[in-house]
Protein backbone atom coordinates (compact mmCIF):
# COMPACT_ATOMS: atom_id res chain seq x y z
CA UNK A 1 0.00 0.00 0.00
CA UNK A 2 2.16 2.85 1.29
CA UNK A 3 2.00 6.16 -0.48
CA UNK A 4 -0.47 4.95 -3.11
CA UNK A 5 -3.10 5.34 -0.41
CA UNK A 6 -2.58 9.07 -0.72
CA UNK A 7 -3.59 9.25 -4.36
CA UNK A 8 -7.18 9.84 -3.28
CA UNK A 9 -6.11 12.73 -1.09
CA UNK A 10 -3.55 14.53 -3.19
CA UNK A 11 -5.45 14.51 -6.49
CA UNK A 12 -4.18 16.58 -9.38
CA UNK A 13 -6.95 19.15 -8.91
CA UNK A 14 -5.94 19.60 -5.29
CA UNK A 15 -2.24 19.91 -6.07
CA UNK A 16 -3.11 22.37 -8.85
CA UNK A 17 -5.05 24.60 -6.45
CA UNK A 18 -2.25 24.36 -3.87
CA UNK A 19 0.46 25.23 -6.37
CA UNK A 20 -1.52 27.85 -8.28
CA UNK A 21 -3.85 29.29 -5.69
CA UNK A 22 -6.84 31.31 -6.94
CA UNK A 23 -7.83 34.51 -5.17
CA UNK A 24 -4.86 34.43 -2.83
CA UNK A 25 -4.66 38.13 -2.12
CA UNK A 26 -6.10 40.77 0.13
CA UNK A 27 -9.37 42.53 -0.74
CA UNK A 28 -8.94 46.31 -0.49
CA UNK A 29 -12.68 47.02 -0.22
CA UNK A 30 -13.49 44.14 2.08
CA UNK A 31 -16.72 44.47 4.03
CA UNK A 32 -15.74 41.70 6.43
CA UNK A 33 -12.58 39.81 7.37
CA UNK A 34 -11.92 36.80 9.54
CA UNK A 35 -8.69 35.23 10.73
CA UNK A 36 -8.66 31.70 12.06
CA UNK A 37 -5.74 29.84 13.58
CA UNK A 38 -5.47 26.09 13.61
CA UNK A 39 -4.05 25.53 17.08
CA UNK A 40 -2.86 22.01 16.29
CA UNK A 41 -0.45 23.08 13.56
CA UNK A 42 -0.07 26.84 13.94
CA UNK A 43 -1.51 27.53 10.51
CA UNK A 44 -3.39 30.73 9.88
CA UNK A 45 -6.01 31.62 7.33
CA UNK A 46 -7.38 35.11 6.67
CA UNK A 47 -10.51 35.37 4.58
CA UNK A 48 -11.75 38.73 3.29
CA UNK A 49 -15.10 39.23 1.55
CA UNK A 50 -16.62 42.18 -0.24
CA UNK A 51 -20.38 41.84 -0.08
CA UNK A 52 -22.55 44.10 -2.23
CA UNK A 53 -26.26 43.83 -1.58
CA UNK A 54 -26.64 40.17 -0.77
CA UNK A 55 -23.94 38.99 -3.15
CA UNK A 56 -20.26 38.15 -2.64
CA UNK A 57 -18.75 40.49 -5.18
CA UNK A 58 -15.17 39.66 -4.32
CA UNK A 59 -13.34 37.26 -2.02
CA UNK A 60 -9.70 36.55 -1.24
CA UNK A 61 -7.58 34.77 1.29
CA UNK A 62 -4.06 34.99 2.67
CA UNK A 63 -2.12 32.93 5.17
CA UNK A 64 -0.01 29.84 5.24
CA UNK A 65 -0.66 26.19 5.69
CA UNK A 66 -0.46 22.71 4.30
CA UNK A 67 -1.40 21.58 0.81
CA UNK A 68 -4.88 20.64 1.93
CA UNK A 69 -5.68 23.89 3.72
CA UNK A 70 -4.32 26.01 0.88
CA UNK A 71 -6.10 24.04 -1.81
CA UNK A 72 -9.31 24.12 0.15
CA UNK A 73 -9.14 27.89 0.60
CA UNK A 74 -8.48 28.36 -3.10
CA UNK A 75 -11.40 26.12 -4.08
CA UNK A 76 -13.67 27.73 -1.56
CA UNK A 77 -13.07 31.24 -2.91
CA UNK A 78 -13.71 30.05 -6.47
CA UNK A 79 -16.88 28.27 -5.45
CA UNK A 80 -18.54 31.15 -3.62
CA UNK A 81 -17.45 34.15 -5.67
CA UNK A 82 -20.58 35.75 -7.19
CA UNK A 83 -22.95 33.71 -5.03
CA UNK A 84 -25.43 35.23 -2.59
CA UNK A 85 -24.38 35.08 1.04
CA UNK A 86 -27.22 32.66 1.68
CA UNK A 87 -26.00 30.31 -1.04
CA UNK A 88 -22.45 30.56 0.27
CA UNK A 89 -23.54 29.72 3.81
CA UNK A 90 -25.46 26.70 2.50
CA UNK A 91 -22.33 25.54 0.71
CA UNK A 92 -20.24 26.01 3.83
CA UNK A 93 -22.74 23.91 5.73
CA UNK A 94 -22.68 21.19 3.10
CA UNK A 95 -18.90 21.11 3.24
CA UNK A 96 -18.58 20.95 7.00
CA UNK A 97 -21.37 18.34 7.18
CA UNK A 98 -19.62 16.19 4.59
CA UNK A 99 -16.39 16.47 6.49
CA UNK A 100 -17.99 14.99 9.59
CA UNK A 101 -19.57 12.21 7.59
CA UNK A 102 -23.12 13.56 7.15
CA UNK A 103 -24.60 12.83 3.77
CA UNK A 104 -25.89 15.46 1.36
CA UNK A 105 -27.68 15.18 -2.00
CA UNK A 106 -25.79 15.08 -5.31
CA UNK A 107 -27.25 18.50 -6.09
CA UNK A 108 -25.77 20.03 -2.97
CA UNK A 109 -22.40 18.51 -3.81
CA UNK A 110 -22.48 19.75 -7.40
CA UNK A 111 -22.78 23.28 -6.10
CA UNK A 112 -19.42 23.02 -4.38
CA UNK A 113 -17.59 22.78 -7.71
CA UNK A 114 -13.98 21.60 -7.40
CA UNK A 115 -14.32 21.78 -3.65
CA UNK A 116 -16.51 18.67 -3.52
CA UNK A 117 -13.40 16.62 -4.27
CA UNK A 118 -11.97 17.56 -0.92
CA UNK A 119 -14.75 15.77 0.88
CA UNK A 120 -12.51 12.73 0.28
CA UNK A 121 -10.71 14.09 3.33
CA UNK A 122 -13.07 11.99 5.46
CA UNK A 123 -10.71 9.08 4.93
CA UNK A 124 -8.02 11.05 6.77
CA UNK A 125 -9.55 12.12 10.07
CA UNK A 126 -6.39 13.95 11.17
CA UNK A 127 -6.66 16.25 8.17
CA UNK A 128 -10.36 17.20 8.28
CA UNK A 129 -9.58 20.40 10.11
CA UNK A 130 -7.12 21.45 7.40
CA UNK A 131 -9.87 21.25 4.78
CA UNK A 132 -12.67 22.86 6.76
CA UNK A 133 -10.80 25.81 8.26
CA UNK A 134 -11.33 28.10 5.23
CA UNK A 135 -15.05 27.28 5.01
CA UNK A 136 -15.33 27.97 8.69
CA UNK A 137 -13.58 31.32 8.23
CA UNK A 138 -16.00 32.15 5.42
CA UNK A 139 -18.98 31.31 7.63
CA UNK A 140 -17.66 33.45 10.44
CA UNK A 141 -16.87 36.35 8.10
CA UNK A 142 -20.38 36.31 6.63
CA UNK A 143 -22.17 35.98 9.95
CA UNK A 144 -19.92 38.36 11.83
CA UNK A 145 -21.43 41.29 13.66
CA UNK A 146 -19.59 44.54 13.08
CA UNK A 147 -18.22 44.78 16.59
CA UNK A 148 -17.05 41.18 16.76
CA UNK A 149 -13.35 40.61 17.30
CA UNK A 150 -11.36 38.47 14.94
CA UNK A 151 -10.16 35.16 16.32
Amino acid sequence: MGLSKLNGLYLDVILDHANNPRNKHDIPNATSKMTIHNPTCGDTINVAVEVEGDRIKNIGYTGSGCTISQASASMMTEAVKGKTTEEALDMAKTFSDMAIGKKHSEDDLEKLGDAQILTSIMEFPARIKCATISWWALQRALLKKDDEEEE
Partner: protein, 412 residues
Protein backbone atom coordinates in the same frame (compact mmCIF):
# COMPACT_ATOMS: atom_id res chain seq x y z
CA UNK B 1 12.50 -9.42 29.46
CA UNK B 2 14.39 -9.42 26.17
CA UNK B 3 17.98 -10.56 26.34
CA UNK B 4 19.56 -7.41 24.98
CA UNK B 5 18.69 -3.82 24.35
CA UNK B 6 18.70 -4.57 20.62
CA UNK B 7 15.92 -7.12 21.11
CA UNK B 8 13.98 -4.95 23.53
CA UNK B 9 11.36 -4.09 20.89
CA UNK B 10 10.06 -7.63 21.46
CA UNK B 11 8.82 -6.54 24.89
CA UNK B 12 6.47 -4.01 23.26
CA UNK B 13 3.41 -5.78 21.83
CA UNK B 14 2.14 -2.65 20.08
CA UNK B 15 5.21 -2.41 17.87
CA UNK B 16 4.39 -5.73 16.23
CA UNK B 17 1.79 -4.50 13.75
CA UNK B 18 1.33 -3.10 10.28
CA UNK B 19 0.04 0.39 9.67
CA UNK B 20 -1.36 1.18 6.24
CA UNK B 21 0.01 -2.14 5.09
CA UNK B 22 3.56 -1.27 6.16
CA UNK B 23 5.73 -2.26 9.10
CA UNK B 24 5.15 0.23 11.92
CA UNK B 25 8.13 2.45 12.70
CA UNK B 26 7.05 4.30 15.83
CA UNK B 27 9.07 7.52 15.92
CA UNK B 28 6.83 9.69 18.09
CA UNK B 29 8.43 8.84 21.41
CA UNK B 30 8.84 12.45 22.47
CA UNK B 31 5.03 12.68 22.49
CA UNK B 32 4.57 9.43 24.37
CA UNK B 33 6.50 6.18 24.69
CA UNK B 34 5.07 2.71 24.14
CA UNK B 35 4.60 0.33 27.08
CA UNK B 36 6.44 -2.96 27.54
CA UNK B 37 4.51 -6.11 28.49
CA UNK B 38 6.00 -5.85 32.00
CA UNK B 39 4.32 -2.48 32.62
CA UNK B 40 1.02 -3.63 31.13
CA UNK B 41 1.18 -6.77 33.29
CA UNK B 42 1.84 -4.73 36.41
CA UNK B 43 -1.30 -2.67 35.80
CA UNK B 44 -3.39 -5.76 35.18
CA UNK B 45 -1.90 -7.56 38.17
CA UNK B 46 -2.72 -4.68 40.47
CA UNK B 47 -6.35 -4.55 39.37
CA UNK B 48 -6.69 -8.35 39.42
CA UNK B 49 -5.11 -8.94 42.82
CA UNK B 50 -4.30 -5.92 44.97
CA UNK B 51 -6.63 -3.01 44.15
CA UNK B 52 -7.56 -0.92 47.18
CA UNK B 53 -7.23 2.66 48.28
CA UNK B 54 -3.95 3.56 49.97
CA UNK B 55 -3.19 4.92 53.43
CA UNK B 56 -6.80 4.34 54.54
CA UNK B 57 -7.65 0.77 55.24
CA UNK B 58 -6.36 -1.75 57.69
CA UNK B 59 -7.46 -4.64 55.54
CA UNK B 60 -4.97 -6.79 53.65
CA UNK B 61 -5.60 -5.38 50.19
CA UNK B 62 -5.23 -1.81 51.45
CA UNK B 63 -1.95 -2.77 53.04
CA UNK B 64 -0.68 -4.35 49.83
CA UNK B 65 -1.72 -1.39 47.72
CA UNK B 66 -0.10 1.06 50.15
CA UNK B 67 3.09 -0.95 50.26
CA UNK B 68 3.38 -1.08 46.47
CA UNK B 69 2.50 2.60 46.07
CA UNK B 70 5.18 3.64 48.56
CA UNK B 71 7.65 1.16 47.06
CA UNK B 72 7.15 2.92 43.72
CA UNK B 73 7.98 6.23 45.39
CA UNK B 74 11.22 4.77 46.71
CA UNK B 75 12.09 3.36 43.27
CA UNK B 76 11.66 6.81 41.75
CA UNK B 77 13.71 8.33 44.56
CA UNK B 78 16.66 6.06 43.79
CA UNK B 79 16.17 6.42 40.04
CA UNK B 80 16.78 10.19 40.15
CA UNK B 81 18.94 9.98 43.28
CA UNK B 82 16.81 12.17 45.55
CA UNK B 83 18.00 12.36 49.13
CA UNK B 84 14.72 11.24 50.66
CA UNK B 85 11.58 9.45 49.46
CA UNK B 86 9.43 12.22 50.91
CA UNK B 87 10.82 14.56 48.24
CA UNK B 88 8.98 12.56 45.55
CA UNK B 89 5.44 13.81 44.91
CA UNK B 90 3.19 11.86 42.56
CA UNK B 91 1.38 14.14 40.10
CA UNK B 92 -0.72 13.76 36.97
CA UNK B 93 2.31 14.51 34.83
CA UNK B 94 4.99 17.04 34.07
CA UNK B 95 2.49 19.83 33.34
CA UNK B 96 0.80 19.21 36.68
CA UNK B 97 4.13 19.33 38.54
CA UNK B 98 5.19 22.61 36.92
CA UNK B 99 1.80 24.17 37.63
CA UNK B 100 2.08 23.00 41.23
CA UNK B 101 5.38 24.85 41.70
CA UNK B 102 4.06 28.02 40.03
CA UNK B 103 0.84 27.97 42.06
CA UNK B 104 2.50 27.35 45.43
CA UNK B 105 6.16 28.36 45.56
CA UNK B 106 5.61 30.97 42.84
CA UNK B 107 2.47 32.36 44.41
CA UNK B 108 4.26 32.70 47.74
CA UNK B 109 7.60 34.07 46.57
CA UNK B 110 7.04 36.18 43.46
CA UNK B 111 6.29 39.83 44.08
CA UNK B 112 5.99 42.96 41.97
CA UNK B 113 9.26 43.76 40.19
CA UNK B 114 10.72 40.27 40.59
CA UNK B 115 12.01 38.35 37.61
CA UNK B 116 11.27 34.85 36.37
CA UNK B 117 13.75 33.54 33.80
CA UNK B 118 12.93 30.76 31.34
CA UNK B 119 14.28 29.90 27.89
CA UNK B 120 12.91 30.42 24.41
CA UNK B 121 12.87 26.64 23.85
CA UNK B 122 10.35 25.87 26.61
CA UNK B 123 7.34 23.65 26.07
CA UNK B 124 4.12 25.60 26.72
CA UNK B 125 3.74 23.73 30.01
CA UNK B 126 6.95 25.30 31.32
CA UNK B 127 6.07 28.69 29.86
CA UNK B 128 2.43 29.57 30.40
CA UNK B 129 2.38 28.90 34.19
CA UNK B 130 5.27 31.38 34.59
CA UNK B 131 3.87 33.87 32.09
CA UNK B 132 0.52 33.95 33.87
CA UNK B 133 2.16 34.17 37.29
CA UNK B 134 4.26 37.11 36.06
CA UNK B 135 1.17 38.88 34.73
CA UNK B 136 -0.72 38.34 37.97
CA UNK B 137 2.15 39.49 40.19
CA UNK B 138 3.43 42.31 37.95
CA UNK B 139 6.71 40.48 37.69
CA UNK B 140 8.94 40.29 34.61
CA UNK B 141 9.29 37.15 32.49
CA UNK B 142 12.64 36.92 30.68
CA UNK B 143 13.75 34.47 28.00
CA UNK B 144 17.25 33.08 27.52
CA UNK B 145 17.84 32.96 23.74
CA UNK B 146 19.63 30.50 21.44
CA UNK B 147 23.07 30.58 19.86
CA UNK B 148 23.20 30.43 16.05
CA UNK B 149 24.07 26.72 16.43
CA UNK B 150 20.71 26.09 18.11
CA UNK B 151 21.96 25.56 21.66
CA UNK B 152 21.12 27.61 24.73
CA UNK B 153 23.14 30.85 24.83
CA UNK B 154 24.91 30.64 28.21
CA UNK B 155 26.30 34.17 27.88
CA UNK B 156 22.73 35.36 27.55
CA UNK B 157 21.81 33.23 30.58
CA UNK B 158 24.43 35.07 32.64
CA UNK B 159 23.00 38.40 31.50
CA UNK B 160 19.35 37.49 32.05
CA UNK B 161 19.70 35.95 35.52
CA UNK B 162 20.17 38.82 37.98
CA UNK B 163 19.74 39.57 41.67
CA UNK B 164 16.07 40.34 40.96
CA UNK B 165 15.55 36.82 39.61
CA UNK B 166 13.56 34.60 41.97
CA UNK B 167 12.84 31.58 39.77
CA UNK B 168 14.70 30.07 36.83
CA UNK B 169 12.85 27.29 34.99
CA UNK B 170 14.49 25.38 32.18
CA UNK B 171 13.95 22.27 30.07
CA UNK B 172 16.70 19.76 30.80
CA UNK B 173 16.34 18.46 27.23
CA UNK B 174 14.46 20.18 24.42
CA UNK B 175 11.44 18.48 22.83
CA UNK B 176 12.24 20.17 19.51
CA UNK B 177 15.93 21.03 19.15
CA UNK B 178 17.32 17.78 20.52
CA UNK B 179 19.65 19.69 22.83
CA UNK B 180 20.55 18.96 26.44
CA UNK B 181 20.84 22.15 28.46
CA UNK B 182 23.63 22.60 31.06
CA UNK B 183 21.22 22.43 33.96
CA UNK B 184 23.91 22.06 36.61
CA UNK B 185 25.66 25.21 35.44
CA UNK B 186 22.35 27.09 35.28
CA UNK B 187 21.53 25.92 38.82
CA UNK B 188 24.84 27.33 40.00
CA UNK B 189 24.17 30.69 38.35
CA UNK B 190 20.62 30.81 39.72
CA UNK B 191 21.81 30.01 43.25
CA UNK B 192 24.55 32.65 43.12
CA UNK B 193 21.75 35.16 42.58
CA UNK B 194 19.55 33.70 45.31
CA UNK B 195 17.01 32.23 42.89
CA UNK B 196 15.61 28.69 42.85
CA UNK B 197 15.85 26.54 39.75
CA UNK B 198 13.16 24.29 38.31
CA UNK B 199 14.10 21.57 35.82
CA UNK B 200 11.63 20.26 33.24
CA UNK B 201 12.72 16.65 32.93
CA UNK B 202 10.02 15.46 30.50
CA UNK B 203 12.54 14.74 27.71
CA UNK B 204 15.55 13.85 29.88
CA UNK B 205 14.52 11.40 32.62
CA UNK B 206 13.34 8.78 30.09
CA UNK B 207 16.56 9.02 28.07
CA UNK B 208 19.62 9.61 30.26
CA UNK B 209 20.89 9.13 33.81
CA UNK B 210 19.58 11.97 36.01
CA UNK B 211 20.89 12.82 39.46
CA UNK B 212 18.92 15.65 41.06
CA UNK B 213 21.43 16.07 43.89
CA UNK B 214 24.34 16.38 41.50
CA UNK B 215 22.38 18.83 39.32
CA UNK B 216 21.47 20.68 42.50
CA UNK B 217 18.04 21.57 41.14
CA UNK B 218 15.41 22.75 43.62
CA UNK B 219 12.45 21.29 41.73
CA UNK B 220 12.32 18.79 38.91
CA UNK B 221 9.20 17.58 37.08
CA UNK B 222 8.60 14.75 34.61
CA UNK B 223 5.88 12.55 33.12
CA UNK B 224 5.49 8.79 33.47
CA UNK B 225 4.00 8.25 30.02
CA UNK B 226 7.15 9.35 28.22
CA UNK B 227 9.06 6.65 30.09
CA UNK B 228 6.75 3.76 29.27
CA UNK B 229 4.23 4.18 32.11
CA UNK B 230 0.53 4.84 31.75
CA UNK B 231 -0.73 8.37 31.14
CA UNK B 232 -1.93 10.36 34.15
CA UNK B 233 1.04 9.70 36.41
CA UNK B 234 4.09 11.91 36.87
CA UNK B 235 6.58 13.07 39.43
CA UNK B 236 7.57 16.32 41.03
CA UNK B 237 10.82 16.27 42.95
CA UNK B 238 11.43 19.12 45.39
CA UNK B 239 14.02 19.74 48.10
CA UNK B 240 12.39 18.87 51.41
CA UNK B 241 12.93 22.23 53.12
CA UNK B 242 11.37 24.08 50.18
CA UNK B 243 8.42 21.71 49.98
CA UNK B 244 7.78 22.04 53.72
CA UNK B 245 7.65 25.83 53.50
CA UNK B 246 5.18 25.81 50.60
CA UNK B 247 1.40 26.01 50.96
CA UNK B 248 -0.64 23.02 49.69
CA UNK B 249 -1.67 22.93 46.04
CA UNK B 250 -5.08 21.34 46.53
CA UNK B 251 -7.17 20.56 49.59
CA UNK B 252 -9.05 17.39 50.41
CA UNK B 253 -8.60 13.88 51.70
CA UNK B 254 -5.20 12.34 52.46
CA UNK B 255 -3.34 15.64 52.82
CA UNK B 256 -4.32 16.50 56.40
CA UNK B 257 -3.39 15.76 59.99
CA UNK B 258 -6.47 17.03 61.74
CA UNK B 259 -9.49 18.94 60.54
CA UNK B 260 -11.73 21.04 62.77
CA UNK B 261 -14.64 23.32 61.95
CA UNK B 262 -12.45 26.35 61.54
CA UNK B 263 -8.96 25.06 60.94
CA UNK B 264 -6.89 22.27 59.47
CA UNK B 265 -3.36 21.12 60.04
CA UNK B 266 -1.75 19.64 56.98
CA UNK B 267 0.10 16.37 56.60
CA UNK B 268 3.86 16.34 56.18
CA UNK B 269 5.42 16.02 52.75
CA UNK B 270 4.86 14.39 50.34
CA UNK B 271 1.22 13.79 51.38
CA UNK B 272 0.57 17.50 51.78
CA UNK B 273 0.74 17.66 47.98
CA UNK B 274 -1.23 14.50 47.22
CA UNK B 275 -4.82 15.51 47.92
CA UNK B 276 -7.50 13.00 47.05
CA UNK B 277 -7.17 9.47 45.73
CA UNK B 278 -4.11 9.32 43.54
CA UNK B 279 -3.37 7.33 40.40
CA UNK B 280 -2.30 4.34 42.47
CA UNK B 281 -2.08 1.77 39.68
CA UNK B 282 -0.26 4.32 37.53
CA UNK B 283 2.32 4.99 40.23
CA UNK B 284 2.93 1.27 40.71
CA UNK B 285 3.28 0.78 36.94
CA UNK B 286 5.72 3.70 36.88
CA UNK B 287 7.74 1.80 39.46
CA UNK B 288 7.75 -1.18 37.09
CA UNK B 289 8.93 1.05 34.23
CA UNK B 290 11.75 2.29 36.47
CA UNK B 291 12.70 -1.34 37.19
CA UNK B 292 12.73 -2.03 33.46
CA UNK B 293 14.93 0.97 32.70
CA UNK B 294 17.32 0.12 35.53
CA UNK B 295 17.58 -3.43 34.27
CA UNK B 296 18.74 -2.08 30.90
CA UNK B 297 20.76 0.71 32.51
CA UNK B 298 20.26 4.38 31.67
CA UNK B 299 23.83 4.61 30.32
CA UNK B 300 22.91 1.93 27.81
CA UNK B 301 19.65 3.69 26.91
CA UNK B 302 21.59 6.87 26.25
CA UNK B 303 24.28 5.03 24.29
CA UNK B 304 21.78 3.17 22.10
CA UNK B 305 19.93 6.37 21.25
CA UNK B 306 23.24 8.07 20.46
CA UNK B 307 24.11 5.22 18.07
CA UNK B 308 20.84 5.72 16.22
CA UNK B 309 21.35 9.49 16.04
CA UNK B 310 24.93 9.01 14.78
CA UNK B 311 23.46 6.82 12.07
CA UNK B 312 20.36 8.74 11.02
CA UNK B 313 21.25 12.41 11.44
CA UNK B 314 24.01 12.50 8.76
CA UNK B 315 21.68 10.62 6.40
CA UNK B 316 18.97 13.23 6.92
CA UNK B 317 21.37 16.13 6.61
CA UNK B 318 22.72 14.67 3.36
CA UNK B 319 19.31 15.11 1.70
CA UNK B 320 19.50 18.52 0.00
CA UNK B 321 15.79 19.26 0.55
CA UNK B 322 15.92 18.66 4.33
CA UNK B 323 16.59 21.27 7.01
CA UNK B 324 17.34 19.89 10.48
CA UNK B 325 16.77 22.25 13.43
CA UNK B 326 19.04 22.39 16.46
CA UNK B 327 22.68 21.28 16.48
CA UNK B 328 23.87 19.58 13.28
CA UNK B 329 26.53 17.59 15.14
CA UNK B 330 25.12 14.16 16.13
CA UNK B 331 27.21 14.17 19.32
CA UNK B 332 25.22 17.19 20.50
CA UNK B 333 21.84 15.85 19.44
CA UNK B 334 19.40 13.64 21.38
CA UNK B 335 16.97 11.26 19.70
CA UNK B 336 14.58 14.16 19.06
CA UNK B 337 15.02 15.36 15.48
CA UNK B 338 12.87 18.19 14.09
CA UNK B 339 13.15 18.93 10.39
CA UNK B 340 11.41 20.42 7.40
CA UNK B 341 11.28 19.43 3.75
CA UNK B 342 11.61 22.22 1.21
CA UNK B 343 8.26 23.39 -0.11
CA UNK B 344 6.28 20.82 1.82
CA UNK B 345 4.17 21.52 4.85
CA UNK B 346 4.92 19.30 7.89
CA UNK B 347 1.30 18.11 7.94
CA UNK B 348 1.60 16.80 4.41
CA UNK B 349 4.94 15.20 5.29
CA UNK B 350 3.48 13.46 8.35
CA UNK B 351 0.49 12.16 6.37
CA UNK B 352 2.83 10.80 3.69
CA UNK B 353 5.19 9.20 6.22
CA UNK B 354 2.20 7.61 7.97
CA UNK B 355 1.19 6.02 4.69
CA UNK B 356 4.66 4.42 4.75
CA UNK B 357 4.14 3.16 8.31
CA UNK B 358 6.30 5.83 9.93
CA UNK B 359 4.66 7.62 12.89
CA UNK B 360 6.04 11.13 13.43
CA UNK B 361 4.62 14.33 14.82
CA UNK B 362 3.95 17.48 12.81
CA UNK B 363 3.12 20.87 14.21
CA UNK B 364 4.50 23.41 16.64
CA UNK B 365 5.18 20.79 19.35
CA UNK B 366 3.67 23.06 22.02
CA UNK B 367 6.56 25.46 21.58
CA UNK B 368 5.18 28.35 19.55
CA UNK B 369 7.66 30.99 20.78
CA UNK B 370 10.48 28.64 19.71
CA UNK B 371 8.90 28.17 16.27
CA UNK B 372 8.77 31.96 15.96
CA UNK B 373 12.45 32.19 16.94
CA UNK B 374 13.31 29.56 14.34
CA UNK B 375 11.24 31.43 11.75
CA UNK B 376 8.93 28.53 10.95
CA UNK B 377 5.27 27.88 11.72
CA UNK B 378 5.73 24.15 12.22
CA UNK B 379 8.15 21.27 11.82
CA UNK B 380 8.07 17.51 11.40
CA UNK B 381 9.62 15.65 14.33
CA UNK B 382 10.97 12.13 14.49
CA UNK B 383 11.90 11.01 18.01
CA UNK B 384 13.64 7.75 18.86
CA UNK B 385 13.73 5.60 21.97
CA UNK B 386 16.04 2.73 22.90
CA UNK B 387 13.69 0.12 21.42
CA UNK B 388 13.97 1.71 17.99
CA UNK B 389 16.57 0.42 15.58
CA UNK B 390 18.52 1.34 12.47
CA UNK B 391 15.73 -0.44 10.62
CA UNK B 392 13.32 2.25 11.84
CA UNK B 393 15.84 4.89 10.83
CA UNK B 394 16.15 3.41 7.34
CA UNK B 395 12.38 3.24 7.03
CA UNK B 396 12.19 6.94 7.90
CA UNK B 397 14.83 7.90 5.34
CA UNK B 398 13.23 5.78 2.61
CA UNK B 399 9.79 7.17 3.41
CA UNK B 400 11.14 10.72 3.18
CA UNK B 401 12.65 9.96 -0.23
CA UNK B 402 9.35 8.42 -1.38
CA UNK B 403 7.49 11.46 -0.11
CA UNK B 404 9.77 13.74 -2.08
CA UNK B 405 9.05 11.69 -5.19
CA UNK B 406 5.32 11.55 -4.53
CA UNK B 407 5.00 15.30 -4.39
CA UNK B 408 7.48 15.56 -7.23
CA UNK B 409 9.17 18.75 -6.22
CA UNK B 410 5.73 19.62 -4.92
CA UNK B 411 3.88 22.31 -3.32
CA UNK B 412 3.55 24.96 -0.67
Amino acid sequence: MANSINDSYQDFPILDQKVNGERLAYLDNAATAQKPQQVIDSLVHFYEHDNANVHRGVHTLAERATEQYEAARTKVQHFINAKNHNEIIFTKGCTDGLNLVAATYGEQNIHEGDEIVITIMEHHSNLIPWQQLAIKKHATLKYIELTPEGTLDMEDAKRKITDRTKIVSVAHASNVLGTVNPLKELAKIAHEHGAVIVGDGAQSVPHMPVDVQDLDVDFYAFSGHKMMSPTGIGVLYGKADLLRAMPPYQYGGEMINTVHRDETTFADIPFKFEAGTQNIAGAIALGTAVDYLEEIGMENVEKKEQEIVDYVLPKLEALPYITVYGPQDPAQHTGVIAFNMDNLHPHDVATALDAEGVAVRAGHHCAQPLMEALGVSATTRASFYFYNSKKDADQLINAIKATKEFFNGGTI
